[in-house]
Symmetry: C2
């Protein structure tokens, strides 16, 4: 008897309930779990928490089995994952279309990589987050893990194929065993949407294009006002150096600075002093710099800064920042771009310019849902990226570097904003593109309906027909209203004798008569004119 | 020290080589593996086999490490998987567009499901193929497996959301630990492309639409002539019954009949008699039936067959077959559809009509590559499906059934046919859609190039510009030729003074002058007229 398929029970992940004793034990477990659920409900715990415990209860009950020998399944998706229903898919498609059009307008190619990589390809790239990687079971053969992001597979792809320059986008799902997933509303399977330019080019030109792309996409998605913060890792490092931060503390202080978008300076300073061991003086000096915001003018001013101007790294970063702004000027995007010395970004691998786009309008949304960290951006931000010149070299046997700059669009957050907008909007989201329903007003016209439907399909018109021999006209019209089909072609015996078909506009109820022999032509004209 | 990232060594999947003794052992392993490779080469073994052993050798050498302390990565994708490069992606996109347009023309919605499911959702659905399921490592929490097809997740989705009718398509990757994967050229990660109609409808109308869809897609993909075989599980079962096959042998004899597309009748008969234990008589009676092919006429004739007409199942199947053909007539697809009593199909879950589309032209292709079984279809066939009225009920706690009929397009086989066509065609596959390169004939025109580029992007024109301050005109023209950009806008000092830009057709070398202030309008006109 194969029993390995049994679902797990809390505390004994591979328990098997087969004997009577087991059954008693199972009933006991059900009772205990029932109490857990009741307690949570009485405490008015969060819906997610209750749902999770209820699922466990159902799983236990399922194992007990109502019908003898019949295995009852627990009907759910894996923890932290979700299905996309047709409505969510329609929104997803709309968002993807806008983003992909933009990438293509900028001449990008696209690639795809397998959903899993050799485990060792991922190891050593994500620091302590490595514990969130999904590993596949060792079923003999290579040790594999699900991809954690799209950047490491991209770097592996470049090194493996010895590609030294490419402009590519990649939209695909990535996987993180984030815990607790449901209560914080964070998904374990989610999309990333990356655009990167790899290659040895003149300074700041590809970097400026990445910012132009963010600007275009956020404009077209129509998510309200936004701004894009830019900074440079070299400026940060130079700043840390002149403030007196010891070299080995650059990265950890960088992480603390990164919290300035969620924490007040006072708290950030406390962390620097109490947890990271900086002196008050040093922290205060950092505090002065990170409060600065501006544009090209700020870069120019800082190049004159008595301390910063002495640091080679900082000067290089500031000179490039000036150059970047001059290109952004030509790209007409400086109205949204702010040089902000407090921007640090989480990831270790950035080596130059970094940026993050933030929506100005706070959306009264599932607060922590989706946005956070998913595309490596903090709550509120919807895109982020930067220059990483060292990553590809980690994969090259000879350490040959391929300079890269890229941006990741926080697509899951954008989906949820669009979904909410759709919820509150009066306009219904259509999940099909059907233009015409071929219907009949009387019985016994199935053959005529199928024939006309086929003719219209052959002409490339999007048509549906109900799969009933004799559907009622009312239910055919209801189907149009429910699914948003704008036109209905109504066949009737008298009309067919006269060689015509009634075409009704579902919304306005206006009707016209079309001559059957010219219906494809006439219908195409109407569709192009009114419904495109 | 974290060492869990070490790659595996044959025979000791989690070996760690850290001490000197380990190092000696590793060197020994490298020597042995080197001999394996040399032996295979001297025996002229298959490329796949050699590559696989070479990969193991490289992996061992990588562990030894050239530079002290530096971990050298094995640069490869997981066994049985591949990256899609931009050219493959361009072909993939083209194929998807044709297929998705067809699905949408027929009013289908789309859904998506997570790449992994609870392990128990998949168990008991695939018979002995279950051993090919990829399990995720138990890292605490639920036991998960990668999806094996899209049909079981679809059935789970319907049952879970209590959906009783939907017309949906789903295009996504599925996973099978097929072994040996590389030598048989079969992928472990591959696309499925499914269209299904779920719901209680009048007989054969949705079934006919599925066949219409296969017809339309194969026509539009332009893969040469094809035909679609149809049969019905009830006809097969009735036929087995009247031929004297014992009930418990129906499914296994069905599998044997399914081999008729690859084996001669004599061999199929042998298997029936010698392996499956049928008498010669019974096998011969089956042999008579399975040689029959025809259309509606054959269904009518068999309804008069003295034996078959006595079987209730067969009669139901034959009556529906007649009805199906009458609808196919209205859909104008009967020229490609053959009622073929030898069609059996592999999967257990079919309950009614079944079908399979086969390309007539044998493509001199990587023989066994891709096609086989990937979409549940046999070699040579590019689409298949049928009616499965019982699967959703397996997930419903009360066993409520949702009748379903669907088709799976053998997309991987289609990709590889299209890739081959592209190889032999003189037309180059473009991987970008760029319409214009903004170039300059002299130095120091970067700003002007970026400004014009931005203006064109803002107007929705697909434009590239080289990321160099002073690129040579020749290298800019070469970039156009290499990537297929049809137009190049050439800036020059004199032209800018005159307020014009030269626009060159890369292929014909014709040039026109466009007035800078009207360039967006004029360029848009040219693009619409000549390059759409």
């Amino acid at each position: 008897v194969r029993r390995s398929s049994c679902s797990s029970v809390p505390g004994s992940s591979s328990a098997v309930w087969s004997t009577m004793a087991d059954k008693a034990q199972l009933q006991e477990a059900i009772k205990t779990q029932g109490e857990v659920v009741r307690k949570l409900k009485s405490e008015k715990a969060s819906k997610e928490q209750i749902d999770e415990e209820v699922a466990k209860l159902l799983q236990l009950k399922a194992q007990l089995g109502g019908d003898e020998g019949k295995h009852v399944f627990v009907l759910k998706t894996a923890k932290g994952t979700r299905d996309y229903n047709p409505k969510q898919m329609a929104i997803r498609e709309k968002v993807f279309n806008i983003i992909i059009s933009c990438f293509k307008r900028h001449g990008a190619e696209t690639i795809d990589t397998p959903v899993f990589e050799l485990k060792e390809t991922l190891t050593g790239k994500y620091g302590e987050d490595s514990k969130l990687i999904y590993d596949l079971k060792d079923q003999g053969g290579e040790l594999l893990s699900l991809r954690y992001d799209l950047t490491v597979p991209f770097a592996r792809y470049l090194a493996m194929n010895k590609i030294t320059n490419i402009k590519r986008y990649h939209i695909a799902k990535v996987y993180r065993r984030d815990n607790p997933a449901m209560t914080r509303g964070r998904y374990r399977e989610f999309y990333q949407c990356d655009f990167d330019i790899a290659g040895q080019y003149d300074a700041m030109i590809p970097d400026a294009e990445c910012l132009k792309i963010v600007y275009e996409i956020l404009n077209e998605l129509d998510l309200g006002d936004f701004h894009i913060k830019v900074n440079d890792r070299r400026i940060l490092d130079g700043m840390f150096a002149v403030c007196g931060v010891p070299g080995e503390k650059f990265r950890t202080i960088c992480s603390t600075v990164d919290k300035l978008d969620k924490m007040a300076w006072e708290d950030v300073k406390k962390e620097m002093v109490n947890e990271k061991g900086l002196s008050e003086d040093v922290a205060d000096r950092i505090g002065e710099y990170v409060s600065m915001q501006g544009g090209q003018d700020l870069a120019e001013r800082l190049l004159q800064d008595p301390k910063l101007s002495q640091n080679k790294q900082a000067c290089a970063g500031l000179t490039d920042m000036k150059l970047l702004f001059s290109y952004l000027e030509l790209f007409q995007v400086t109205d949204k771009v702010v040089f902000d010395l407090s921007l640090a970004r989480g990831l270790d691998y950035y080596t130059g310019v970094i940026y993050e786009a933030i929506l100005s309008q706070t959306i009264p949304a599932p607060a922590e849902q989706n946005g956070a960290d998913e595309a490596g951006v903090s709550v509120g931000s919807v895109a982020g990226g930067g220059r990483y010149d060292g990553l590809v070299g980690m994969f090259d046997p000879k350490g040959r570097k391929v300079p890269c700059v890229g941006v990741s669009i926080g697509i899951e957050r954008i989906f949820s904003i669009m979904e909410q907008k759709a919820e509150t909007s009066s306009e219904k989201v259509r999940t099909t593109e059907t233009q015409v329903l071929v219907a009949s007003a009387q019985k016994n016209l199935l053959e005529e309906r199928l024939k006309l439907t086929s003719e219209l399909w052959n002409a490339g018109i999007k048509v549906e027909v109900l799969y009933k021999k004799n559907p009622k006209l009312l239910s055919q019209l209801q189907h149009c209203e429910e699914t948003g089909i704008p036109l209905v072609a109504i066949l009737g015996e008298q009309e067919l004798k006269d060689g015509v078909v009634k075409l009704r506009n579902v919304a306005s109820r206006e009707e016209v008569r079309l001559i059957v022999s010219q219906i494809v032509y006439n219908l195409s004209c109407i569709l192009t004119k009114h419904f495109d």
